[in-house]
């Protein structure tokens, strides 16, 4: 495993099907649909970023508009240096597989992530390793989340495809898998395919 994979944050909430992580830096969010992991090269979870939010650290404190007299957005933070400490960025993920004894398994793990597990962005190599099979697409299709499934799947495939010098074989393979999973739901298949055109 590439040791230089970027550490994004850590798990602050976890369940069987997903986890939420807090970023170390404000707005340092991984893109929607990107593949992230916990653990190491032997054991850990793989998950897809399905939602993100930036809000006040404390539930009772709502941000207010502050920039009326400021020349640009950056100046708001310079004039109110405490803001960057009082806001936090979080992202939620769907667990799409796990690694057990070094083997990648594209089904839900027996246990959820542990709180405070470090969350890393997957490197191109890790992403390619994970994308050798398409079992994760079924998990994404059936997830009950706020983000529309077609948007999330398309974003995931675009990002995973970018790991390859030529993404076509990967995207065609994914398209075939989706066609078989979606059966007669031609509308959804079309929506996804239109969003992943290279």
């Amino acid at each position: 495993m590439n040791e230089t994979s970027q550490r994004l944050g850590e798990v602050i909430e976890a369940s069987t099907t997903g986890f939420t992580a807090q970023c170390y830096e404000l707005y340092d969010l991984p893109p929607l649909g990107s593949l992230v992991r916990t653990g190491d090269s032997t054991n850990g979870l793989f998950a897809v970023v399905c939602h993100a939010v930036t809000e006040g650290l404390e539930p009772g404190r709502k941000p207010i508009a502050r920039g009326k007299d400021e020349p640009d957005e950056e100046s708001i933070f310079q004039s109110n240096p405490q803001l960057s400490k009082l806001l936090r960025s979080e992202f939620s993920t769907l667990v799409v597989g796990h690694r057990k004894g070094g083997r990648i398994l594209q089904y839900l793990p027996p246990q959820p992530a542990r709180i405070h597990s470090f969350v890393h962005a997957c490197t191109a190599e890790e992403s390619k390793d994970f994308g050798r099979t398409f079992g994760f697409l079924n998990i994404l299709l059936n997830a009950k989340i706020e983000t529309p499934a077609d948007e999330l799947i398309a974003a995931t495939l675009r990002i995973m495809g970018a790991s390859y010098a030529d993404p076509r074989p990967f995207l065609i393979g994914a398209g075939k898998e989706l066609a078989s999973l979606l059966g007669e739901d031609y509308g959804k298949l079309k929506a996804i395919l239109e969003r992943i055109k290279p």
Binding site: F77, Q78, S79, P81, Q82, K85, L86
Partner: protein
């Protein structure tokens, strides 16, 4: 349970009384304002009268002409604000573990080219006998309730001094305390001398000494900020001004006269903030005054408390500063300008103090969680837990 329907009628009566007093108050305010800018009142004569009189009320010491109003100076391009605030969980005599907790919120805000912020919440659990009582020889005083409040104020000041020491030497900075620089709690009750010595001389004053030492070699100022002050020190100066006696002696001359009938009652019922709300423009500060309270005169030494009022967008605030800030034109101007700037950034209240409060605050849920954690930890160690029947009754509310 509070029966609001029964209170509603009483609130109506209270509003009626407030309305009835409004007209008289307005007349008193007009009288007071006229006096405040009356050039016929000789400043030096009034100052002398104030220093020689014996009054039953606290009269501000005069430093600058009464009607002064000073616009704010320029703020430096790079500067820091440090502030602390605190809260506590008091000793609960219904619980088995005897302890209290002080939570100090510390904030440092850096403005300018290298802006940044440090926000910290530092809880300190005190269960040692040296923390639970203040002792001297065979005497001891239990730290709880009002005394714990005072101890917390001392801790706030100590943390502020620690933060001040960490500031870059050449960076203009203002240290802000929430509330008063005067430890009123120690003066309002008859505490033994060793308690006053421990908390004031070796506590609060020692921290002020440390800050003075730092301020002698760097552009550091110290102030406290009181929002919506209820003080009447300056109104009481006006009472003296209209007192018909050459030297006032309230008990001697007016001891037999009912309150409301004395000559000086022509300015009664109003507060300093009412005066300065009319006199000052937004951003301006009032004249400087000195506090003549007994505790300040007897114990504050070179940190004698001076104060001024400042007009903000929505209110008048009272700012208290030690003598060494008041007598240094640069530090005084820095205090005025930076506090005003802080209030503008903080929607009317100093931003650093708001954040320090947020860091320090202990909510009702925090209190319950803390007590639960203590109980669980004791149970883990198989220690007997004895709570009072009263505490149990509050937790289990049966029908």
């Amino acid at each position: 349970m509070l029966d609001l329907s029964r209170v509603a009628g009483q609130i109506g009566e209270m509003i009626g009384q407030l309305k009835a007093g409004g007209q008289e108050r307005q007349e008193h305010l007009v009288r007071a304002l006229t006096l405040l800018v009356d050039r016929a009142i000789d400043f030096e004569t009034l100052k002398r009268k104030a220093s020689q009189s014996k009054t039953t009320f606290l009269v501000a010491g005069l430093v600058e002409p009464l009607g002064s109003h000073v616009p704010p100076g320029a703020i430096p391009s790079d500067f820091s604000i440090i502030a602390t605030d605190g809260s506590q969980i008091d000793v609960d005599r219904h619980q088995s573990a005897r302890c209290y907790l002080i939570n100090i919120g510390r904030v440092r805000l850096d403005y300018g080219s290298d802006s940044g912020a440090e926000l910290q919440s530092l809880p300190q659990l005190c269960a040692d006998s040296k923390d639970l009582v203040i002792s001297s020889g065979t005497k001891e005083q239990v730290v709880e309730g009002a005394l714990l409040n005072i101890k917390r104020s001392v801790d706030e000041c100590r943390h502020l001094a620690d933060m001040a020491a960490e500031l870059p030497k050449d960076r203009p900075a203002l240290a802000v305390i929430d509330g008063s620089l005067i430890l009123w709690g120690l003066s309002s009750k008859e505490y033994p001398d060793f308690v006053v010595e421990q908390l004031l001389d070796k506590g609060f004053i020692k921290c002020l000494d440390d800050m003075l030492k730092l301020a002698q070699e760097r552009p550091l100022a110290l102030s406290s900020f009181i929002s919506f002050p209820r003080s009447t020190d300056v109104v009481n100066v006006l009472r003296l001004a209209i007192c018909p006696h050459e030297t006032a002696d309230c008990d001697k001359f007016c001891g037999e006269i009912n309150i409301g009938k004395r000559a000086c009652d022509a300015v009664s019922g109003i507060q300093d903030r009412d005066l300065f709300d009319s006199l000052l423009g937004v951003g301006e500060r009032s004249a400087l005054f000195t506090s003549q309270s007994k505790i300040v005169r007897e114990s504050y030494g070179r940190h004698r408390v001076n104060f001024f009022y400042i007009k903000l967008e929505d209110e008048i605030a009272r700012v208290e500063i030690p003598e060494w800030v008041a007598r240094d034109a640069d530090k005084l101007s820095l205090t005025h300008a930076l506090l005003l700037d802080q209030c503008q950034r903080g929607q009317g209240y100093p931003a650093a103090l708001s954040e320090a409060h947020e860091e320090a605050v202990v909510t009702g849920a925090d209190r319950r969680n803390f007590l639960q954690l203590v109980e669980i930890s004791m149970a883990d160690e198989h220690m007997p837990q004895t709570t009072s029947a009263k505490a149990r009754s509050k937790n289990a509310r049966w029908l």
